[in-house]
């Protein structure tokens, strides 16, 4: 059971990285990024292609792929999202949704729907003795790195002036502008950063999950549930809910396997009935 709980936390690490990106993007831009799963998929494919075609190893991909995808996110925000932002939110909703389908199909056309193999990096091929059980070293690395990344983001958000501006702009974008902060200047890097986090999650997923064009679409629905449970726009809530949902669904899988696919959504419905703004959401944010 402990091992299953640990599996859950590792799964939760992916939810947390993806939900964190979605939450900062939603908070700062008011955009629900439906293409987030597609960028996760591109992260995994990016590292696959780098290794398969160019012999570039995992460690380089771990840095290079998120950086490249982050820059792609910057371009995307500048060229499209920014122009659609003054219109009804539905336009960016449709745009990111369409973009996800296009990216998925482009990858499908090139590589088909079958899963591509990606070996674990040699350094992390073994197991680690965690006292009560041994565990694959790679999974331990994924969990540790994701905790470090989430903690680093948390520190930046709570301890720096940049973090203060992001929190303020997330809570009250219009007022923050009226107080003399050029919110628009921070929107592009925040969007790029959110996309880079999705790319990072994708690179991390490549050695332990099936690398195929639909891997993002499958995962992102659950991540949306995670963000809603944590409280839309709540950065802390999205990370906490990410790990918690990973844990709950792994344990659910163990005890009530029949519910493994639906448990998250039952939880989401229950949380919404109890706290309509999510666990860490603010009631005002609904109005």
């Amino acid at each position: 059971m402990l091992q299953q709980a640990f599996n859950g936390l590792v799964g939760g690490a992916f939810y947390a990285l993806l939900a964190l990106g979605l939450a900062v993007i939603f908070g700062m831009l008011g955009v629900v990024n439906f293409a987030h799963g597609a960028f996760y998929m591109l992260g995994a494919f990016g590292s696959y292609v780098l290794l398969d075609s160019f012999g570039v190893n995992f460690w380089v991909a771990l840095v290079a792929v998120p950086v490249v995808l982050g820059l792609a996110g910057v371009a995307l925000e500048r060229l499209f999202i920014r122009r659609l932002a003054p219109l009804d939110p539905l336009y960016n909703f449709l745009f990111t949704f369409g973009l996800a389908l296009i990216l998925q199909d482009l990858v499908k056309r090139e590589y088909g729907v079958q899963s591509q193999p990606y070996p674990r990096p040699a350094l992390l091929d073994g197991t680690v003795d965690l006292g009560l059980f041994t565990y694959p070293a790679y999974q331990v690395f994924v969990l540790a790195l994701s905790v470090v990344v989430c903690a680093a983001v948390w520190l930046v958000l709570t301890r720096t002036r940049l973090g203060m501006i992001v929190r303020a702009a997330t809570e009250r974008p219009e007022l923050t502008r009226a107080l003399g902060i050029d919110v628009g200047r921070w929107v592009t890097p925040v969007f790029g950063f959110g996309i880079a986090l999705a790319g990072l999650a994708g690179v991390l997923a490549a050695p332990m999950r099936a690398v195929n064009p639909l891997m993002g679409a499958d995962l992102i629905i659950t991540v949306f549930a995670v963000v809603v449970i944590g409280g839309l726009g709540s950065i802390f809530g999205s990370v906490a809910a990410g790990f918690a949902i990973g844990l709950v669904s792994a344990l659910g899988n163990l005890y009530v396997p029949a519910l493994s696919q639906t448990l998250v959504f039952i939880l989401m419905a229950a949380v919404l009935l109890w706290r309509p703004a999510g666990l860490f959401g603010r009631e005002e944010s609904l109005s």
């Binding site: 203060m164 303020a168 809570e171 502008r177 009226a178 107080l179 003399g180 902060i181 919110v183």
Partner: protein, 238 residues
């Protein structure tokens, strides 16, 4: 009774604004002289809040010109206006729950030649010093209002736009806010104030504009305001 300042800090000419098809401001023109406290009085829905939002650059559908100290700011985005010395205190006080009291104070960048140092803010508002590490919205309503005022004073803004700072507060706190506004005026800062409390308006302000259905219908000085207090109270429906 218009401003007698030949070089007013704020000049608004032919300002109109719309919400969808509905026109909520009609050709509003007004002036505020340096160091004056001027109030906007009017019923709910008269367009007072929309007027302040237009001055701050927060209302997209508008027409007319706004000049700040001789600079045409009509087309400037909100953050540039703030940096030119407009200090905005919104009707809901605009205190961030995800920022501490001190972060709420230090968020806006300095925007004038004579900003209040944090030490002076804390000396004037000791309660804010005591609670500097608390989330901004953990303060009481009156304390939040003090925080909203202190926040724009710390930037050194030259013209404060205050949207009903006394609304819903106890008489004691209203008095304190009056004291702060007089102190601010002594320093030479200008205030454009939305105020429903006619009596309070007459005690702190120099002049008053009466707004009805999106138009400025009258401009009054303090004596006229006092003489017509009952009539105005009836009119405002308070």
């Amino acid at each position: 009774m218009p401003s007698t300042d030949p070089d007013p800090i704020l000049r608004v000419a032919g300002l109109s604004a719309w919400y969808g098809e509905a026109r909520v401001l009609r050709e509003v023109s007004l002036e505020v002289g340096r160091g004056e406290i001027v109030t906007l009085v009017g019923r709910n829905g008269a367009g007072k809040t929309t007027l302040l939002r237009c001055l701050m650059g927060l209302h997209a559908r508008r027409d007319g010109t706004v000049t700040l100290s001789g600079t045409d700011i009509t087309r400037l985005p909100a953050h540039r206006r703030a940096r030119l010395g407009l200090g905005y205190v919104p009707d809901d006080r605009g205190i961030y729950s995800t920022l501490t009291v001190e972060e709420n104070l230090t968020l806006p960048p300095v925007a004038g030649p004579d900003p209040w140092p944090l030490a002076k803010v804390y000396e004037t508002f000791p309660r804010l010093a005591e609670r500097r590490g608390f989330p901004g919205t953990k303060l009481s309503g009156g304390e939040q209002q003090m925080l909203a005022l202190a926040r724009v004073l710390r930037t050194g803004a030259r013209l404060l736009l205050c949207d009903e700072p006394t609304e819903g507060l106890s008489p004691l706190i209203v008095q304190q806010i009056g004291g702060i506004l007089r102190e601010v005026k002594r320093q030479g800062t200008t205030v454009l104030l939305i105020e429903q409390n006619v009596h309070f308006a007459a005690t702190v302000a120099d002049r008053h504009y009466l707004l009805a259905e999106g138009r400025i219908v009258e401009s009054l000085d303090n004596d006229e305001m006092r003489a017509r207090e009952h009539e105005l109270l009836d009119y405002l429906g308070i």
